[in-house]
């Protein structure tokens, strides 16, 4: 009964979204304001009925109504209520419902907040967001099954079968009989990292639909001035903030849960989330040039369009966070439909772009190669290069199978080897860019600003090259340290760090000189009244810290595996601190909160440099319903490194057990850097009263500037 109601709400949302899109389009075309108003109300109604659908789905999940297929797939009776709620995004159909709901909320926010300032753009924004939404809703409302018999009549049996399957692909599909119990949620997903990771990722994904909608609206109505750029900058930043958080939490989850001592494996699911982030980041940089100099207008459009396509593509691959490969794409009718939608929207946007090229003429030219514009171009090239490498590596298995008949795997070594140097160059441009003024600069002046950063970077690199301990460490077996790239990379990081510090110092000093306020309040005011710029620098600082951790874990990581009898111990040498000794004390059965989980933990005594530092309990959880074991790593954290231990197996009731131990140098800088990164983004995105006032002042000032220039 409740499931029927939910299904009706879903269908209603689908129909309303199509109605809103058509009404907005026709109303704008014929200048019928009532129709546009009706479309706006339609957007609200879609959000309302989707909220109802989500609410009902949650009720079904909580009440273990296993007659509903989705509920039976992702929950069981033994699961804690909390996980039953999060199971909403634990499977395909549910996560698409959740995605659509978020999309509807974002669309509502965009339409309502833009109603006053960007009235002329809103109808097309409604068209784009509601059509996107309608596509997603069509997938989970079973309407594609209607195509099955016409396709069959045309003799396309495979297509007909795929479409007929779509009937069951709705979160409200009801089985003929009620199973006694459900399958339960994938154990890997029962972790708070996996609970907040998908919502963050989806918020990032749906967020990127809004800039695309505004871009298409601006293009099709030829309002390609400053208006849309100003509107979408904040939307893009919001989407980007969520996507960044989603990626970071995903890494944190992988590190804490997957139990292989790593946080990024370059698998298709991760890549699918990374790719729109890369193109989105490129856009965030190049859009600054459009704002300041009126250049790269076509390019910015292209970036928004690529990002949107990647978001749609990525939504499918990451739909539930369960590990899957590109090949999983074709397992049901959903894959071909997604591919068709991506193709249709991409071709449509390219056509629109070409039809409107004239309105995207550049207002300025590049004045000099030694200018911020030139560096930003380089930055864009690097982001796009990393995107392309990632894209190519992700689809290569499919391509190679097609051409050579042999499937190939493209693993982390490929991505690290190709993207590693590109990331290093990116850090370099990140360091230089703030020193480059717009338009042009004299080399002499640039040199003056470069003195300290370059000096600091060189000292770091040379110091690391000659320092004997690093070289000793590189000769130890089992290390993957290569001195030259590591020293270079750390030199680059120090260079960038000094540039950022210098920028803060220059700003504070200038303020101090002019206003005579104390350095501390000068700093706080500086950031407060230049949120975008100094927020950006904070983000860069976060990136430097993240890079510190990434290089640490990639090059300085140590690992060992031993089978230990009780009382025996293994040693592992840390490159930064002392030697750890891990002694196996015995195996215990522990209880965990959930009743369907049995935990077996090993007790380990840890000493470092002879000093006792604590007990660690790596464990294996056995999920009874799924008959699936999961390793639970135990960690000893410090700012220098983590000692990360997993229990790989045991024999004879725990008389002997096998352990894998990792020393993960600087890994916590990654998480701390992530927090700085997010804080910086929040600083840049947060609107303030003062900023609004400043915008007004700046607008009049730029008017003066234009007058002065001509």
């Amino acid at each position: 009964m409740a499931a029927d109601l939910g299904y009706v709400a879903l269908l209603l949302a689908f129909v309303l979204s199509i109605f809103a899109a058509l009404a907005a389009w026709w109303g704008e075309r014929r200048h019928i304001i009532e129709l546009v108003l009706s479309a706006r109300n339609g957007v609200l109604a879609v959000a309302g009925s989707l909220t109802l659908a989500v609410f009902i789905e949650l009720l079904l999940l909580l009440n273990h109504d296993f007659r509903v297929m989705y509920v039976a797939q992702v929950t069981n009776r033994a699961m804690p209520a909390f996980f039953k709620l999060t199971a909403l995004w634990g499977g395909q159909a549910g996560s698409l419902l959740f995605w659509s709901w978020l999309m509807a909320l974002f669309a509502t926010a965009a339409v309502l907040s833009g109603w006053q300032r960007t009235r002329t753009l809103i109808p097309k924004v409604i068209v784009v967001t509601q059509l996107t939404l309608a596509f997603f809703l069509s997938l989970i409302s079973g309407v594609w099954a209607l195509l099955a018999s016409p396709l069959k009549a045309l003799g396309m049996t495979t297509g007909a079968e795929l479409m007929a399957e779509m009937e069951t692909f709705t979160p409200f599909y009801q089985l003929g009989l009620t199973p006694a119990d459900g399958n339960g949620l994938n154990p890997l997903l029962r972790h708070w990292g996996m609970i907040i990771h998908p919502p963050l990722l989806y918020l990032g994904f749906v967020g990127f639909v809004i800039p695309f909608a505004f871009a298409v609206a601006a293009l099709s109505t030829r309002q390609t001035g400053d208006l849309w750029i100003r509107v979408i900058r904040r939307w893009t930043l919001v989407a980007w903030l969520f996507l960044s958080m989603g990626l970071l939490v995903g890494m944190w989850w992988a590190y804490g849960v997957l139990g292989w001592g790593g946080y990024w494996g370059w698998d298709p699911v991760e890549n699918a989330a990374l790719m729109p982030w890369l193109t989105g980041t490129a856009f965030l940089h190049s859009v600054i040039i459009q704002e300041r100099r009126g250049m790269f207008k076509v390019w910015n459009m292209v970036l928004v369009m690529i990002t949107y396509s990647l978001v749609i593509f990525g939504t499918f691959l990451t739909r539930s966070g369960v590990v899957s490969s590109v090949h999983a794409f074709a397992q049901s009718g959903v894959g071909p439909l997604f591919l068709g939608f991506v193709a249709a929207t991409f071709v449509a946007s390219v056509l629109l772009l070409f039809a409107r090229l004239d309105s995207l003429r550049s207002e300025n030219m590049l004045d000099s190669l030694v200018s911020r514009e030139a560096i930003f171009l380089l930055n864009n090239l690097l982001f796009l290069a990393i995107f392309f490498v990632t894209f190519w590596g992700t689809i290569f298995p499919v391509v190679s199978e097609l051409f050579s008949g042999q499937k190939a795997i493209v693993g982390p070594p490929f991505f690290n080897r190709v993207n590693g140097p590109l990331f290093a160059l990116l850090v370099l441009t990140m360091g230089i860019a703030p020193l480059m003024p717009w338009r042009r600069t004299s080399l002499g002046k640039l040199a003056r600003l470069l003195v300290w950063p370059v000096l600091a970077g060189l000292v770091t690199t040379l110091g690391l090259l000659v320092v004997p301990t690093l070289r000793q460490f590189a000769t130890l077996p089992g290390t993957s340290l290569r001195i030259v790239p590591v020293s270079t990379f750390y030199g680059l990081l120090v260079f960038t760090l000094v540039v950022i510090g210098q920028e803060f110092w220059r700003g504070v000093r200038a303020r101090h000189r002019v206003t005579k306020e104390s350095y501390l309040s000068a700093l706080s005011n500086l950031v407060q009244y230049n949120r975008r710029r100094y927020g950006g620098y904070l983000v860069h600082l976060g990136v430097v810290m993240i890079a510190l951790g990434v290089i640490g874990t990639n090059f300085f990581k140590v690992e060992t595996q031993r089978n230990l009898a009780q009382g025996e111990s293994l040693t592992i040498i840390s490159p930064l601190t002392g030697t750890y000794r891990v002694t196996y004390e015995g195996l215990i059965s522990a209880s965990v909160a959930a009743e369907d989980v049995r935990r077996t933990a090993a007790v380990l005594k840890i000493t470092r440099g002879g000093q006792f530092i604590g007990l660690l309990q790596p464990a294996q959880d056995f999920f009874i319903a799924q008959e699936q074991a999961m390793t639970i790593p135990a960690m000893y954290h410090s700012l220098a490194e983590d000692l990360y231990i997993i229990l790989a197996g045991w024999e004879n009731g725990g008389a002997t057990a096998t352990f894998k131990a990792y020393v993960e140098p600087l890994v916590n800088w990654l998480w701390v850097g992530g927090l700085v990164f997010i804080f910086g983004t929040a600083v840049a995105v947060w609107p303030t009263q003062a900023e609004k006032r400043r915008a007004a002042v700046a607008a009049s000032a730029s008017g003066h500037a234009v007058a002065a220039r001509s």
Partner: protein, 200 residues
């Protein structure tokens, strides 16, 4: 890199409008690039499952037997033409395979006199583990390693076990995904054998 190309119209200066012909060429180039890419993906992502082999000629295979009376002998699709062949892809680590192992062996003993060949293709296994498995289930029909996983790929298998029933003419008549039961196996073999008798 389609995007990079699309960005190229930037090159035109503000002073000169885009010549229509040049723009059309760019449009065609961009659409062609995007089309190729999407076409590739669409082709590559097409379902290639073993089930689609039904009614089609069996892809060629060759194994070197590692067990029992056939040790060292090679068996290929060409040699076995004219016989009914049951090609079973299995692995020692596969739990479902163990469920059908003795059923297959019994059927082999029953149908060998009638000219049916059973061929075991050992997928992703070490020889030690494979031999232990064959010994455990006392399997006597020829089994060999799938070198380079070529047979698995050629037959578009989606997992183990999968069993292919090939008739006298080398056509795949039935694809069994997952373990097979005794009744179904015998019925299939009887059908294949009678069908061939009726065809001169």
């Amino acid at each position: 890199m389609a995007g990079m190309t699309a960005g190229n119209p930037l090159t035109s200066s503000p002073a000169r409008p885009h010549p229509a012909g040049q723009r059309l060429i760019w449009l065609i180039v961009v659409l062609a690039l995007v089309g190729t890419l999407l076409g590739l993906l669409a082709l590559g992502l097409q379902p290639r499952t073993s089930a689609t082999l039904q009614g089609k000629p069996a892809p060629p295979f060759e194994i070197a037997a590692i067990n029992g009376e056939f040790v060292g002998q090679r068996f290929s699709s060409a040699d076995l033409r004219g016989h009914v062949v049951v090609l079973n892809i299995w692995a020692s680590w596969c739990i479902e395979c163990a469920r059908e192992a003795s059923i297959l062996e019994r059927a082999w003993r029953a149908y060998r006199p009638r000219g049916v060949w059973f061929i075991g293709v050992d997928y992703l296994d070490t020889d030690t583990a494979a031999l232990a498995y064959l010994k455990r289930f006392e399997i006597t029909y020829p089994n060999g390693a799938d070198i380079g996983s070529r047979i698995y790929q050629a037959y578009r298998a989606t997992g183990v076990p999968e069993t292919f029933f090939i008739d006298h003419d080398g056509i795949v008549q039935h694809v069994q995904i997952g373990p097979i039961g005794q009744a179904q196996l015998h019925a299939l073999l009887d059908r294949l054998l009678t069908k061939d008798v009726s065809q001169p």
